[in-house]
Symmetry: C3
Subunit: 209 residues, 3 copies
């Protein structure tokens, strides 16, 4: 009889992680759509808020389950940090999309689209890494995904610095600069949060594999 | 003989929490006064610095006591995070008031006043929730306060988004925008910190009640 | 036979802390050079990136070693937080230097130089405090260093508020304000991170001395 049969409740933590990683991918997909065509931004930002609320619920449910569970498959602090890390990714994705509406950014810069595409790739890697946590049959594969997320974060960082320099060189409108600077920064923070989650997963793999 | 009689030192942690929650309420009250009438802002910001230092001292004293105490009424990490969370609330309140002076903001926007009023309510709820932690006779009441703090944070978030959109629509002065954008953001971060504390308290109640 | 003879591996954590504290001092020195003469900023920012990568490697190596080590000389969480705290200092120093290049800031303000000088002093104190952690023969000396770091952070905070008020009073160019405001804020965050590390060290000393 497999190990899991005795501990169905513990396995639910991995379900929560996967569910939340899926909301992150859904959020990053919707954001990329908004960045490519912002004409329906208000409705899309509304849909994003719903994705973000779904993520909040999963986080809340995870915490509640944690308080009710005596034996956990990972350290309690690891569970707490991993679900909060996933929540951070989604929060920054949501914050980016809210800014597009708040600042009435109809024409999105190609730089923001490039960053949004890297972010989507990063969330997809996070989703795969989170999925692999459940079994840990191939720890080296998980570690490779974490390295890839780190690479994507570095790529995003380079795009950000290039975008920001361009923004300040090509625009003379300070209000335009204020708006786009903040969008770029939120995109970067979303990517940073992906890296934070990758580092947590790496730690879990090294400890448990 | 009640349990507490044997453990007077442990009970002091709850005193520290209450004292710090009181500094948060005092800070939020003073900030609302400043937002309603900023003519004496310099003196008020000075008074705020003193409140903030009082908070720092309580935090420091809590940490010191924690290191000297062997048996604690809550997990050590819970104590550390709760007092740091209260400290964050006060730091953001202080940061807001410093900006009013630094940026010479004589005429405060009604949006900032509205946010300041919600923040005061949130700190008052935090104070009540912290008080109830001591006994935990009525855990459901504490959980309701936490839900109310979350509601206030959502209310504040909606006001913030409305205020920020208005700021960018109605003003054409980028320096004015930079200043008020930052004030709104600090008010929001203060509210976010109230929510963080509510989440910590909820966790403590679920674990210990 | 001294205690350390049996536990050579544990001692390596103190080596990691010292190495990372050295990268922080090296970063703060290079940053002060840039702030005093920004003509070679692009090359200097490149050199800074290398220092930052060296810090990342030490952090990563510390985490790996932590996962492989069963008995640690400090709590696992203390090790994790201390090395992350040192990493934060260096990240903010690097972020400051990147901004000087990104924003093409040829003429550095005297206020930024003053802040950079205080930051260098703070990192030097952090380095000394970290060194003293290894032995803890003179715990009072370490605590004094922590107090000094707190004093430097307060000094930096006062300079920052003065600088920011001056920036908004003397400049009418919003783009200039956006750029320098961010540089000042990153310098302040680097100083804040020094204070965070000092608080961690204080905690470790109180617990272990």
């Amino acid at each position: 009889m497999p190990f899991g049969t005795f501990l169905p409740k513990e396995y639910s933590f991995f379900d929560f992680f996967e569910q939340h990683a899926s909301t992150c991918v859904a959020g990053a997909q919707l954001l990329l759509h908004m960045l490519r065509d912002a004409r329906a931004a208000a409705e899309q930002a509304q849909a994003m808020k719903e994705i973000e609320h779904a993520g909040d619920k999963i986080t809340h449910h995870t915490m509640e389950t944690l308080h009710k569970t005596f034996i956990t498959p990972l350290d309690r602090e690891e569970i707490r940090q991993l679900i909060s890390g996933l929540d951070d990714i989604l929060d920054f994705i949501d914050a980016t999309s809210q800014r597009i509406v708040m600042y009435d950014l109809c024409e999105v810069t190609p730089d923001a689209q490039e960053l949004g595409a890297v972010l989507l790739q990063a969330t997809e890697q996070v989703q795969e890494a989170v999925r692999s946590l459940r079994q840990l049959k191939y720890p080296m594969d998980v570690l490779k995904m974490c390295v890839e997320i780190n690479r994507l974060e570095n790529e995003g960082d380079a795009i950000l610095r290039k975008s920001m320099a361009r923004l300040f060189k090509e625009s003379t409108d300070p209000i335009y600069i204020i708006k786009w600077k903040e969008v770029y920064e939120f995109l970067e923070e979303a990517l940073d949060s992906c890296e934070d989650v990758a580092n947590m997963i790496e730690g879990i793999v090294l400890e448990h594999a």
